[in-house]
Symmetry: D2
Subunit: 346 residues, 4 copies
């Protein structure tokens, strides 16, 4: 019986275990054995593995994280690692590999496929939803729900104290989480990396909303935002990026300080961080991850490699790994227009 190795790389995301569970089921149904590789590419270097079968994957769908462990090890970073990895792959008797991960993990997979003909199938994973060639990635929906529930909670305090809360979400390169959480949380305004922030607009929106009767404010901020230089944000040395925008650390707290200073409203910042990452996956993420894991194993069973299982509309399709890596999928600005309807100022 042929054997497929499964590995998970990069930051953990809710749904990884659902991918593993479905891939194992589909592979076994198709006559393949499965082998779990510990801690991503690192395990394929060191030969660290665990058995994978129905018995130990049946009950894992509700668990966040990954039973395989994960790491950020990239074999292309050290000269001899690729050779070592290929040797271990052979030694372990692996006929194919399903690599579940983000841009980095899939980039390695793609390169191993192209350069060494390693029989690889990818499954896209990022909480940030910014991977190309797939409409949504699992983990994103869980992260958005976590952020939204945090906002729901903060609103009661905001209202009682007539405060402004700034909520900093994940999203270094793309504003997906912020935009979804901002819409779902009914934020006064949402700030995303795709649009350098105009703090004067932010202040104007908050003031207008208070004048219209709102007694509190919620501002959602993606961790990766930059600022338009201006009256409220002056440029200091080394803070200007290549596009002429101001790049600061700890943006949530910065935005909160500016708001309090220029509106007089008591303002607090909450950085959600890892709270967006953990916990049981949402139904959407469990179903999407199950479909992707199933499809990835089907690609293995039917001998289609160098591919990635992806979501397009309602359908799971096979995308080329090569096309999928390297390009960030930034926020759909048509969607963001809907968010902007709530913070337009004339």
């Amino acid at each position: 019986m042929p054997t497929v190795g499964l590995l998970t790389g990069g930051g953990d995301a809710p749904g990884l275990n659902a991918v593993i569970r479905a891939a194992v089921r589909r592979a076994e149904n198709g006559g393949w054995n499965c082998l779990g590789i510990i801690d991503g590419w690192k395990g394929l270097l060191d030969g660290q593995t665990m058995p994978l079968g129905r018995a130990n994957t049946n009950d894992i769908i509700a668990e966040g994280g990954t039973i395989l462990g994960t790491s950020r090890t990239n074999p292309y970073k050290k000269p001899d690692d690729v050779k070592k990895l290929l040797a271990t792959t052979k030694k372990l008797g692996l006929d194919a590999i399903i690599a579940i991960g983000g841009d980095d993990t899939l980039g390695v997979a793609d390169q191993l496929f192209r350069e060494h003909n390693l029989k690889v199938v990818g499954v896209p994973k990022t909480i940030d939803n910014d991977l190309s060639c797939t409409d949504y990635t699992f983990g994103f929906d869980t992260a958005v729900n976590a952020a939204m529930e945090a906002i729901d909670r903060l609103i009661t305090t905001a209202r009682s104290h007539r405060r402004c809360f700034v909520v900093e979400t994940m999203g270094r390169h793309a504003g997906w989480i912020a935009a979804y959480a901002g819409i779902a949380g009914g934020a006064d305004i949402t700030l995303v990396p795709e649009k350098p922030v105009d703090m004067e607009q932010v202040i104007a929106v908050l003031k207008r909303n208070r004048e219209e009767g709102r007694t509190y404010n919620i501002v959602v901020v993606s961790e990766g935002i930059t600022f338009e230089p201006g009256a409220f944000v002056t440029v200091k040395e080394g803070e200007l990026d290549e596009f002429g925008h101001v790049r600061l650390g700890g943006v949530g707290n910065r935005v909160a300080e500016l708001i309090e200073k220029h509106t007089g409203y008591e303002t607090r910042c909450v950085v959600l961080g890892h709270l967006q990452r953990g916990g049981p996956p949402s139904a959407f993420d469990r179903v999407l991850a199950t479909r992707l894991g199933y499809a990835a194993a089907e690609l293995v069973v039917t001998g289609q490699f160098g591919k990635m299982a992806a979501l397009r509309g309602n359908k799971i399709v096979a995308a080329d790994l090569r096309e999928a890596v390297g390009a960030t999928k930034t926020l759909d600005m048509e969607l963001f227009k809907v968010a902007e309807a709530f913070f337009a100022v004339d």
Copy 2:
């Protein structure tokens, strides 16, 4: 300034308030007044309304249900009601109507548009996700999460007592909720209206899973299932439907009884019922509902009537109301194949 009336009809669904909030915002941004019509078409018969504006819709996105109230009143059921409704519409000074509802509510909207040129725009709503012309309806994701969380809870008891639990979900005509909840909950087997149930297969799957080491079972059952007549389900008078399948009441409990009888496993049934319907909408539903409400108001503002805002892939589009009503969108059997991978028996 022109005025648009908003109404919600049929069973409530999480996300209705998000539609209302977004439609009000977009309509006001476009220079329209909004008027809330109480209890669906009933309010348009009686002239019962409430003011709608930013102030009283800003904070409603996290609330399930509808601030407008709802009813199942259909003006085409009584001879003079349509006339009365048109007169009230005129008297209230309504230039357009946004009707948010299911097949029945939208059917009325379509008929009023075609027969009386009432300027109507529709927004599709059903927890069951079985409306045509839209990929997903809001409320569905919240319902699936509620069902999945119920299953997650029941598993701890199932495991401690080595029991089988049968979970009956909504879904009279389509198995969307059951299929999604069954996949997400890691059910042993999922039964949907689209496939008459073969109880012998059900029993075989449960027995095989126990033999493979699983110590408990979860069976998800859509309320609308029928049964293949056979050894375990004998036909009594009046129970056979037009397709030759056995149609029974209280299917969850029936399935539980049959399982306990033919496997000997202690079996319990939980009917989720209204618990799938209420509570704060999920992030997915809040975003989808906001996008639909925004798009519906945009159709009004731009003078496109007889349309329905709908989701296709990632985009919101304008579908013809007429096409949308009357046809049930049954479960995607390609998706169900993924669920079936977990309960295939050779």
Copy 3:
């Protein structure tokens, strides 16, 4: 090193695993080995055990149910079982036993202690909170939160449709869950086994609340209620209990029917059943269960048997097993007076 056996009996409750985890830790700290007995007293008859130590109990506190499994086996039901049980206890080398369970399980423990000098310590467990000698039992708080969250969800539908919802909770002999859930859920009226139900009062309260402006109703019903015979509840043969009250099956649905009939409000019933039992324990239950498990092991380590760890005020104390079993702790009527303040009718 001496060895203590741990077993869990009766219906599962959130917190059982926390008891096991804490008892193992305290016992090991005190120089004792631990042995897990599978499926309650049944495992002590059959000699079915599993090893218990820090390694396999460290991570179980968040899991509902019991890793030991449970059953309702009572060795006093069959003539030779007690002898067999004592022999197995000896054969397994058990120097003491921690029995975690309800009235039945603890009754066996007490009898074995008194009649056969088996070194037993008890930990009280019931979701219903109706065990004597302890202020609260773990599992109760989780059950109440589950019931309350269900009510919170149902209210959105109740309000949208102007309906009455009847919510049937657990509580066969005592109204603790119903009373707490009724207060916490803001019910119009709460019905408990301690007070035979006066349906005329129920109807009067609902009508008054509607007259005062409430547009929906919530009625919480304990599964163990009886009815005062009267205008709305007539007595049929065999339904009258020893106290002259009417005892009916499916009380939630009965109450719903009577309400709909006599008020005209659309009324639905939801039976919560097992949804109150499963899932991760609440913080209160995890802390209480941890304290009880710790205290039980301390009783073992210090050689105090025939005792039960119990909560009194804020303190964990050692109660006599004998006093604890056999008497139902009914609802504190001073607490219920607070609930009644909301449904008093003059």
Copy 4:
């Protein structure tokens, strides 16, 4: 009819609305009118009020925060404010006042009662659970559940990446939240203000647990901890407090840095902050708050002033306001001994 004014002061806490709702109900049942005072003592200075009755308090029990708004205004801070406050009280026709708040709010209430014979009844409120004369305060249970759920979420990421997570909870003067969350979350070790932290012990516990097979760690840290000076924590000028302990800012991040440095485990810190404060109250808090609100109004109706409704064991009692204020109720060290059983090192 006499009138009682209700006010809420200090930081918001889940359960405030339940107190208001129950007090209004009990007061009205006793023949009193109720008046809501906006933003704590500030509203009694400015005469800002809102009507309070059954109609607008019926539905607020599930909402966090306070519908009355809150502030930290203390009339004893400005020379003429007390006079002004007494005048406004008279002008508003208030015959009594129910003050719901923490040490500061209740201190003002007590002083007004003693110095000016203002007819005041207090209700204790603090999320931190550190108020004297009451076993528990409402808001605490909700905060602990929020912290525990955050830990539950973080564990999945901790496990996948073999990380250590430091979770900083509220608790400036007392370790109640940290101790409860630490026990409930199954933390490796919990650090509280009552015990200056020995970082060498912390490191030793984490290392031992890894050696015993645990692959990740959770450390719960109360925001108010201090450190024992020692090998890992050296003393810098101005950091030593009056007891010879090191007092640092941002303790969660400090602890995380020290752990990563001295164990080599990848370590992250999450500061929970306001996420512990908001959202719907837990069942425990709703019931406790309802009982306290009811009892406070009963004290008013029966003419017992200068008192505070308090929880002792299972009973609600009337404590003297004077005794209640000024003394911090620190963590029960008998309870903490249970937590310590899990991180004892020999």
